[in-house]
C-alpha cells in the first residue's frame, strides 16, 4: 500500500502464494471448544461464504484469518503468511456495525487506513475522493455519519475497508443490521464491486441467499463444537440482476440444499 501512487482503486498487489488456507484448525476458549478441526482452502480472489447457526464459531474463524486471534492448534495461512502480524497486514475486516468515527466526515473516515500508513491527512483525503466517486458517494464527502442513512453508513464502512488496499476482505454479517430493501441493494452493489475489483473474500452470514449471492463456495458449519459440515460449490447461470438470479431454479435448488444442511446442523 505504501508504494501505491495515484488515487485509483487500490489494486491487490500480486504476491506469491495463494489465498487463504486453514489446516486442522482448533480454537478453544478455556473449556469451550469454539472451532474443532477446521480445514478450508480458498484460492486467490476466490469468494467464500460461511453459514451456520449462531455459536458455530464462524466469526472466530474470521478473527483467526484476520490475525486478530491465533488458533489453539493447527495453521492459518494467508497468502503464505502464518504469524498474526503478517496476517493482519494482509486482511481487512468489516463487522456488522459500521463503527464510523462520528467526528470524521465521509472522506475522513475513508482516509483512516491511508493516514495510518503515515500519509498526510490532506493527501489521504485526496486519494480516497475517486473511490468515493466510484462507490456512488460523491457529494457526501463532507457529510458526517449522523447525517447518513444506515445503508449509506455501511457503504462508507465498506469504502473504508477497501481503501486499506488489502488483498483479503473479511466480512462478518456486513448487512445484518439493515432492512431487507437496503440489504438487497447493497448485496447487488457489493457483487458488482467485487467483480470490478476482485479480492479474496470471506463472508460470514446466517442468510442463505446472501451466502449464495456473494460466494462461489459456501461452507456450512454446525454448532457446539463448531465444525465444518459441508462445502458446497456454487455454480449459477449468469443473469441480469439479483432478482432473476434468485428466481432461477438452480438457485432455488442450492438454497434448498443449504437449508436442509442447516437443519441438520442445528
Amino acid at each position: 500500500m505504501r508504494s501505491q501512487t495515484g488515487s485509483q482503486l487500490p489494486s491487490a498487489q500480486s504476491r506469491s502464494g495463494d489465498g487463504v488456507d486453514l489446516i486442522n484448525v482448533v480454537k478453544r476458549f478455556g473449556e469451550t471448544v469454539a472451532v474443532s478441526g477446521a480445514d478450508l482452502s480458498l484460492p486467490r480472489h476466490g469468494r467464500m461464504s460461511i453459514i451456520g447457526p449462531s455459536g458455530c464459531g464462524k466469526s472466530t474463524i474470521l478473527s483467526m484469518i484476520s490475525g486478530l486471534l491465533d488458533p489453539t492448534e493447527g495453521v492459518v495461512r494467508v497468502e503464505g503468511a502464518t504469524t498474526m502480524k503478517e496476517r493482519l497486514a494482509r486482511c481487512a475486516w468489516m463487522p456488522q456495525r459500521d463503527l464510523l468515527l462520528p467526528w470524521r466526515d465521509v472522506a475522513g473516515n475513508a482516509a483512516l487506513a491511508l493516514e495510518n500508513h503515515g500519509i498526510s491527512k490532506k493527501e489521504s483525503r485526496e486519494r480516497v475522493l475517486e473511490l468515493i466517486d466510484r462507490f456512488g458517494l460523491s457529494g457526501f464527502e463532507r457529510k458526517f455519519p449522523h447525517q447518513l442513512s444506515g445503508g449509506m453508513r455501511q457503504r462508507v464502512s465498506f469504502l473504508r475497508t477497501m481503501a486499506a488496499g488489502k488483498d483479503v476482505l473479511l466480512f462478518d454479517e456486513p448487512f445484518g443490521a439493515l432492512d431487507s430493501i437496503t440489504r438487497a441493494d447493497l448485496q447487488q452493489w457489493l457483487r458488482r464491486t467485487l467483480e470490478e475489483a476482485p479480492r479474496t473474500t470471506v463472508l460470514v452470514t446466517h442468510d442463505v441467499e446472501e451466502a449464495l449471492l456473494l460466494g462461489d463456495t459456501v461452507v456450512v458449519m454446525s454448532a457446539r463444537p463448531g465444525r465444518i459440515v459441508q462445502t458446497v460449490d456454487v455454480e449459477l447461470p449468469q443473469t441480469e440482476n439479483r432478482r432473476e438470479l434468485i428466481r432461477h431454479p438452480a438457485f432455488a435448488e442450492l438454497r434448498d440444499e443449504l437449508l436442509s444442511l442447516l437443519e441438520v446442523a442445528e
Binding site: 497486514a89 463503527l99 467526528w103 483512516l112 495510518n116 458526517f144 449522523h146 475497508t161
Partner: protein, 282 residues
C-alpha cells in the same frame, strides 16, 4: 418533524433570506426558553428575600437585605472587592489549568499502562480522602502567604474528576472499533490519537464541568488557611466584624465566578466536539 430535523433538512436546501430569518427567530425563541425559567426563579427568591428582611426586622448582621448587600458591594468595590476578586480569579484559573494538565497526563499514563494503573490507583483514590481543610494550613506553612498553596488546593480538588472521567472516556471505546483499526494497520499510537482521544473528549469535558464548580471553593479553602487578599480573606475579615453584607457580596461574586467558568467550559466543549450533541440526538 422535530426542530432538529427541520433545521437539518433546511440546511440541505439553498437557504433563502426568509429561511434564515425564520431560523434566527427559532434560535432566539430557544434561548429565551432557556433563560426565562432560571431568571424567573432568581427574581422570586430575590423579592422574597427583600420582603423578609424588610418587614420582619431581621438584624442586618444576621440576614442583610439585598439592597444592603448591593450598597456595600458598590461602596467597597474599588477598595476591597476588585482586588480580592482578581486575586481569587487568578488562583482559580491557574489551579484549574494545573489540574487539567496534571489530570490529562495522569489519565493517559494510567490508560496506557496496566502496571501504572494498578500501582497508582489506590494512591489516587487515597488523595481524595485527605481532608483539604487540614492540608491547606500545612501548604500555607510550606509556601507562606503566596499564590502557590491556593493553586495547589484548587488543583487537588479539581484534578480527580478530570482523571476519572478522562480515563473512563479513553477506555469506553467499542472494542470492535479497536479491532477494525488494527486491521486498518493502526499502531497503538494511531489508535490513541485517531480514536481514543477524540472519543474521550466528551467525558473529559464532563470532568471539567464538574471540577469547574469546585474550583472556587478550593480557592476559598486555600485563602482561609492563610492569605493577605482574595474573596476568602475578605470573608474571614468581615465575619469577625459582623459585616455579614460583605460576606454575601463575596459569596455572590464566587457564585458568579463558578457559573462563568462552567459556561466557558461548556462553550469550549461545543466548539471542540460538536458531533457529541448530534450523535445524541439521533
Amino acid at each position: 418533524m422535530t426542530l432538529a430535523e427541520t433545521v437539518r433538512s433546511s440546511r440541505t436546501k439553498a437557504p433563502t433570506p426568509g429561511d434564515r430569518q425564520a431560523r434566527r427567530q427559532r434560535r432566539l425563541a430557544a434561548v429565551v426558553k432557556r433563560i426565562l425559567p432560571p431568571t424567573g426563579i432568581l427574581l422570586v427568591v430575590g423579592v422574597l428575600w427583600q420582603v423578609a428582611s424588610d418587614s420582619f426586622g431581621v438584624p442586618k448582621y444576621i440576614l442583610p437585605s439585598l439592597s444592603d448587600i448591593w450598597t456595600s458591594a458598590s461602596e467597597r468595590w474599588s477598595d476591597t472587592f476588585s482586588s480580592a476578586t482578581w486575586v481569587t480569579l487568578q488562583e482559580v484559573l491557574i489551579g484549574f489549568a494545573f489540574a487539567i494538565a496534571v489530570g490529562v497526563v495522569i489519565a493517559l499514563a494510567l490508560h496506557l499502562s496496566a502496571t501504572l494503573r494498578t500501582a497508582f490507583m489506590p494512591l489516587l483514590i487515597g488523595s481524595q480522602a485527605v481532608p483539604i481543610v487540614v492540608i491547606a494550613p500545612v501548604l500555607a506553612i510550606i509556601f507562606g502567604y503566596t499564590l502557590m498553596p491556593k493553586v495547589i488546593v484548587v488543583a487537588l480538588i479539581c484534578f480527580f474528576s478530570i482523571v476519572v472521567n478522562t480515563m473512563h472516556g479513553l477506555s469506553s471505546v467499542d472494542p470492535e472499533l479497536i479491532k477494525v483499526m488494527r486491521t486498518l494497520d493502526a499502531s497503538r499510537w494511531a489508535i490513541l490519537r485517531r480514536v481514543e482521544i477524540p472519543a474521550a473528549l466528551p467525558s473529559f469535558f464532563t470532568g471539567l464541568r464538574i471540577s469547574a464548580t469546585y474550583a472556587s471553593v478550593g480557592a476559598v479553602f486555600g485563602e482561609f488557611a492563610g492569605s493577605l487578599d482574595g474573596l476568602g480573606y475578605v470573608m474571614i475579615q468581615a465575619t469577625s466584624q459582623l459585616q455579614t453584607d460583605m460576606v454575601f457580596v463575596a459569596i455572590f461574586i464566587l457564585t458568579f465566578m463558578s457559573i462563568s467558568l462552567f459556561l466557558a467550559v461548556s462553550i469550549v466543549e461545543r466548539l471542540v466536539c460538536p458531533w457529541a450533541r448530534k450523535e445524541d440526538r439521533r
